[in-house]
Symmetry: C2
């Protein structure tokens, strides 16, 4: 079948596909088509089960206007879905990442303190709002006053700190008077530095992304803090666990949609999109994503229908 | 009651009690009595439930010949126990540490590869032999040819490497042709460096001790490998978790004894003790422990009965 891309998703993991460093997935070869998740409309179909006009999610369409698919890695979407681009965000991979990482590894308990960085991004918004629904104190970290105000005023976080401030360590300690029980790691770098001394005994640290270090070309200078991190894990009895959402939790996706879809419909989980127009603007938008220039889930609108 | 110490245990955790660095337990104050676990004989008793001649385990007797106890942190031992000092090793804290960390965090599956350092120490021997009982390939790391031969010939490990060799990285890769699924971390330092590149997807790393770095007075020089470790946890989807045995698993102790006691009696789990005579030799023996000079569980014999 021939697919017409309507929306494509831009996500930090793509940076790893542009590097040949050992990772969980092969890099995109030089000259290859860059990978992404897309919401597409079926234009023509010789495939059983798919007809012209169907709305689908494809993981193989790539950064392209059109693609030919044999049905592999393609999933039908509800044709009446009000905001199909949400299949790339809160109801897709990023939302699933935030939900499962928080619930299965983070295991938040009522009254605990949950900290999440990139608080207004598609993972962070889900982590924070779901943690609020579990009765936790939620402290976000984001870049800039506008994002922080949004996290508190619109998403209901208890506090949100601007990592562009110089006093992040002190501010985070003040915002977490009872320490940190769950730190959802999706950025790495200096946010984690501020989090480390505040981690409580038996804290949980799901690790789903390290965007702050994806562009690094060499290890930062010393001292070597790896032994310090291991000592912290030991003395505070911390569980730190990396996960790749579909690899770890693929079979849980339908269960996730059953929980999250009504939450989104009822406004219990609110979402914000940063929409860029035109495939030709995807590279610039992606570079901005790695610098935190987006505000909300970054999607590229490629065609109307 | 008045307790006469018969055996005292020397364990790496004691190094932490001699430092005021933030840890899970308070340090022993300067001039205080150094803490330890001891097997003691009741000499005189005004306490209900304890009579002269009883054999007990005490966590408060400290590095002393005699101590007075109000019964807190004291547990009765089977008066007919053949080797009471085993209550300090395979049937005590170290054995419990190896068993629970392996089974609950490591979760070894048949056919997987389990690596453990300090392979002939009281934790490592239990980790390795229990992993063999689960059907795993077990590779130990120990200091010196004699210890390595013992791990393979007496304990049944599939291989054991001498960390005093310069080619540990290469040797470990050869000994683990299918990578490493569980690394039981009880030493830290260069063994972990050799382990890192071999960790398989979804590997588990219980962390119970970091003896190699306990005497460090400053962080090692750079580069800073903390980001590299976090990236490894993410890309390989690794679970790394610190634990302090009685804090995490205290209520499981009776269950552990029910499993381990017959294994020891039947020879399925073999043990080796390194016995030092005389309380006055405890400090030197403890310094040797931190350098790996002991061969087997290090205990100090203080009195015969």
């Amino acid at each position: 079948m021939l697919l017409r891309a309507l929306w494509m998703s831009l996500d930090p993991y793509m940076r790893g596909r542009m590097s040949d460093a050992k990772s969980y997935a092969d890099p995109v070869p030089v000259g290859g088509v860059m990978t992404c998740a897309s919401v597409c409309r079926v234009q023509e179909s010789n495939l059983d089960g798919y007809a012209k006009g169907d709305l689908v999610m494809s993981f193989t369409a790539g950064w392209q206007d059109y693609s030919v698919s044999d049905g592999a890695m393609v999933f039908k979407l509800d044709p009446n879905m009000q905001n199909p681009s949400q299949a790339l965000g809160v109801l897709g991979m990023p939302g699933f990442t935030g939900y499962m990482g928080l619930m299965d590894i983070g295991r938040p308990k009522k009254g605990e303190t949950v900290v999440v960085a990139a608080a207004t991004g598609p993972v962070g918004t889900v982590v924070g709002q779901v943690a609020k629904l579990q009765g936790c104190r939620v402290v976000g970290i984001a870049g800039g006053a506008e994002k922080c105000a949004y996290a508190v005023d619109e998403l209901g976080f208890d506090a949100c700190l601007d990592h562009k401030q110089n006093n992040l360590n002190d501010e985070l300690a003040k915002a977490c008077p009872d320490g940190i029980d769950v730190y959802f790691e999706n950025v790495g770098g200096k946010v984690f530095d501020a989090v480390m001394p505040l981690l409580n005994a038996h804290a949980r640290v799901p690790v789903c992304g390290l965007i702050a270090q994806y562009n690094a070309t060499e290890a930062p200078s010393g001292p070597d803090r790896m032994p310090q991190l291991m000592r912290l894990l030991l003395s505070q009895r911390i569980r730190m666990q990396g996960f790749i959402i579909f690899d770890n939790y693929g079979p849980h996706f339908p269960e996730f949609l059953r929980v999250m879809t009504p939450w989104v419909a009822e406004g219990k989980v609110r979402v914000r999109e940063d929409q860029v127009e035109g495939l030709e603007n995807a590279p610039q938008a992606f570079m901005g994503l790695l610098e935190g220039k987006n505000f909300g889930k970054l999607v590229v609108k490629i065609a109307d229908k």
